[in-house]
């Protein structure tokens, strides 16, 4: 089947495209290329990237980073916008939105424990990516939101992050400590306090004081956060949201991609497309073993080098295809789209357009 056709329908119809895969497989570039295609189709598209390479960021107008989308001009019918996710300011906005008054927001924003959340708590980046995606889709009226996920091992972390983080914010350890009124909780509470004393002994008391002050200040906001998290999660599993798996043709990254696909399947989500980047081109038909054998026989001559090279590259192309067999079968009926290894890094709209050309060969 023509992979490009299936992907084209996806970019035409989906409301949200989530690109997932392990680090170094070209997720950011792929996300940008998909959004560009969306704009070409006349859609109002935005790409949200987590950590773009500097030159790609520059071309996309993200040189001076902001957490709000910036429009990129070009000769397309639709609109292309790009932004880089700023985890902390997204979280700050969320706190401001849900706090009862300016004083509550101020107390939270100035707390040291809170300030650590965006940099140190695992899952926060995924949580805020989901939040931003919801905001862009529901509130900013983008037809197509393409998001480049953090290099999370588990795709479910992305879907699940909002729920996990909301549970964290509503931490039961804190509840135990702060609501000792009910008699039956008192025994639990004594154990919890012993526990806290021990933790203080290990990390130092002031660290824990910050944490307790934070949970105290946060009181009353859980409801708003929980409600929002539920809506973000619902959007992520909505049929309008499609998960695009990005991989490179190596055993290790393919194994990671396969793990992602398994985890998505556990949540009843299927992979909408598989994009494989960095494939070696295939030069004509022929058996690499035969080429390499001729290379050995002719060793020392230019023809020997030429055959060795052809054999090496054909062997590589074959080995790469072989890594994709099982994964392609696993994601059926998702289209599998191949992008060859490019000579240049993508750092302007022209090279980005070339990637789009490989993703959508029919134009």
């Amino acid at each position: 089947m023509s992979g490009g056709a299936g992907l084209a329908e996806l970019v035409e119809g989906a409301g949200i495209l989530v690109c997932c895969g392990s680090g170094g497989v070209g997720k950011t570039t792929t996300a940008a290329a998909l959004a560009l295609r969306g704009a070409r189709l006349g859609r109002r598209a935005v790409v949200v990237t987590i950590d773009p390479a500097k030159r790609l960021a520059d071309t996309l107008g993200l040189g001076s980073l902001t957490n709000t989308p910036r429009r990129i001009d070009g000769d397309w019918d639709g609109e292309l916008w790009a932004m880089m996710l700023d985890t902390k300011s997204t979280f700050d906005d969320l706190v401001a939105k849900h706090s009862a008054d300016a004083e509550q927001a101020r107390r939270i924003l100035s707390n040291r424990f809170y300030r650590n959340i965006s940099s140190a708590l695992s899952g926060t980046q995924e949580y805020m990516a989901g939040e931003k995606l919801y905001e862009l889709h529901e509130e900013a009226d983008f037809d197509l939101v393409v998001v480049d996920t953090p290099p999370t091992r588990n795709a479910l972390d992305f879907i699940d992050a909002s729920r996990r983080l909301t549970n964290f914010l509503d931490h039961r350890l804190y509840r135990m400590l702060m609501s000792p009124t009910r008699a039956y909780l008192r025994a639990v509470n004594l154990a919890a306090q012993a526990f806290v004393r021990t933790v203080s002994k290990v990390v130092g008391g002031e660290v824990l004081d910050d944490a307790l002050a934070f949970f105290g200040a946060f009181e009353g906001m859980e409801e708003g956060f929980r409600d929002r998290a539920t809506r973000v999660q619902a959007l992520l599993v909505d049929p309008a949201t499609a998960f695009v798996l990005v991989a490179s043709p190596r055993t290790d990254t393919v194994a990671e991609a396969s793990f992602f696909a398994d985890k998505l399947a556990e949540s009843g989500i299927s992979v909408a497309a598989l994009i494989v980047n960095r494939l070696h081109p295939r030069f004509g038909k022929g058996r690499p073993e035969a080429d390499r054998a001729r290379g050995r026989t002719l060793a020392g001559s230019a023809l020997g080098s030429l055959f060795t090279n052809l054999g090496d590259l054909r062997a590589m192309a074959e080995a790469e295809e072989a890594t994709l067999v099982e994964l392609s079968a696993q994601v059926v009926p998702a289209p599998v789209v191949r992008v060859p290894l490019l000579v240049d890094d993508v750092h302007d709209l022209d090279t980005l357009a070339r990637i789009t050309g490989h993703l959508f060969p029919t134009g």
Binding site: S22, G23, G24, D51, A53, K54, R55, F113, N116, I117, A120, L121, P151, R153, F168, H171, R172, L173, Y174, T198, V199, K201, V202, V203, G204, E206, V207, L208, A211, R250, T251, D252, T253, A255, E256, P281, F283, G284, G286, S301, A302, L303, G304, S305, L306, F307, T308, N309, L310, D312, L313, A315, M316, A319, E320, A322, T323, V343, D344, D345
Partner: protein
């Protein structure tokens, strides 16, 4: 340079680099090279998803040491293990007389609260354990397969951050010990891994400066992975080459040979340009590893890469191993 001198420069070598550059492969090759020089070697994996064990054809590593490649004649053993924060925390608590509560601390999710309150605590637990291994001389060489860069910087920077956040107590003492290890070139160094491509080169340069300036860790050579081996004669027309060799080509063969040669020449030119950029921007010794024409690497490839690494080390100039990285000059990353 004498490879044993190179390998004994510091007992702990942290291998760091961006995702996808082959950091784990380089860690494996370095370990195998050391073992072949007779140094017992322990590889430490800090992320669950690493493919380290597979490179040696072994089942996944656990918190308990296992053999990755057995000793044979003059070749020493390569062992491997994981150090994950949860396991390291359990061990730490048990060692500090807190066995009773340790499981509960980890299972109630309280660890999340603690690690948010004191960012970097997880990294300190890992590095603290590495330090303990170094102190107990667990192996002649300890190779740490670091988390992917970006995170590698946070991983190493967390020590200083934690010293600010936790001013007293055992964690503070632990952080001090780790900082001492990281800033002593005779005990610890970082080997950066990159690819001969634009973005990975930029990132390696930035990481190198950040590590030296902000962590104060000593840099070993930078390893450039995935270099196409040079083949002389790829610029010769296949038909002429066939005539010179006194043979002829089948239909279609000349085109395939010419296209494949052109592809490789383009890649090699690109690689050469990136190597020059790297040398210009990061004036530290550089080692190269050949591209392996296979999609799945196994023990035989690790041996091949270990041999290539050894050749590279032998070719390095003698002299102090301290890093000659200077303050960023004009045009360097800010």
């Amino acid at each position: 340079m004498d490879p044993r001198q190179f390998l004994r420069a510091s007992r702990v070598v942290i291998v760091a680099g961006k995702g996808g550059v082959g950091k784990t492969t380089v860690a494996a090759a370095l370990a195998r090279m050391a073992a072949r020089q007779g140094l017992s070697t322990l590889v430490v994996q800090v992320e669950r998803a690493s493919g380290l064990a597979r490179l040696f054809g072994r089942p996944p590593l656990t918190y308990v040491e296992s053999t990755l490649a057995p000793a044979a004649g003059t070749i020493a053993e390569v062992r491997g293990r994981t150090i994950t924060p949860d396991d390291a925390l359990l061990e730490y608590l048990e060692d500090h007389g807190l066995r009773r509560i340790s499981r509960r601390l980890v299972s109630t999710g309280a660890m999340d609260v603690v690690s948010t309150a004191a960012p970097g605590i997880k990294d300190i637990l890992i590095l603290g354990k590495v330090k303990a291994l170094e102190r107990s001389e667990a192996a002649d060489l300890i190779v740490v397969d670091a988390p992917a860069a970006g995170h590698a910087i946070t991983f190493l920077l967390s020590v200083r951050g934690l010293l600010d956040a936790v001013r007293v107590g055992p964690i503070n003492a632990q952080a001090r010990d780790v900082l001492e290890l990281l800033s002593d070139p005779a005990r610890c160094s970082v080997v950066l891994v990159t690819l001969p491509e634009e973005t990975p080169v930029n990132e390696a340069v930035e990481t190198a400066f950040t590590l030296e300036d902000r962590v104060g860790v000593s840099l070993g050579p930078v390893v450039v992975n995935g270099l196409y081996p040079l083949l002389p004669g790829l610029d010769i027309d296949p038909v002429e080459a066939a005539e010179a060799a006194g043979t002829s080509l089948r239909p279609g063969e000349a085109e395939a040979l010419a296209e494949a040669a052109a592809f490789r020449r383009d890649r090699q030119a690109l690689q050469q340009a990136q190597l020059e950029r790297l040398d210009e921007r990061l004036p530290i010794p550089r080692l190269g590893l050949p591209f392996v024409f296979s999609a799945e690497l196994g023990p035989s490839h690790v041996d091949l890469l270990a041999a290539a690494l050894l050749d590279g080390v032998v070719g390095l100039a003698d002299g102090p191993t301290e890093s000659p990285v200077r303050a960023p000059a004009e045009g360097s990353p800010s």
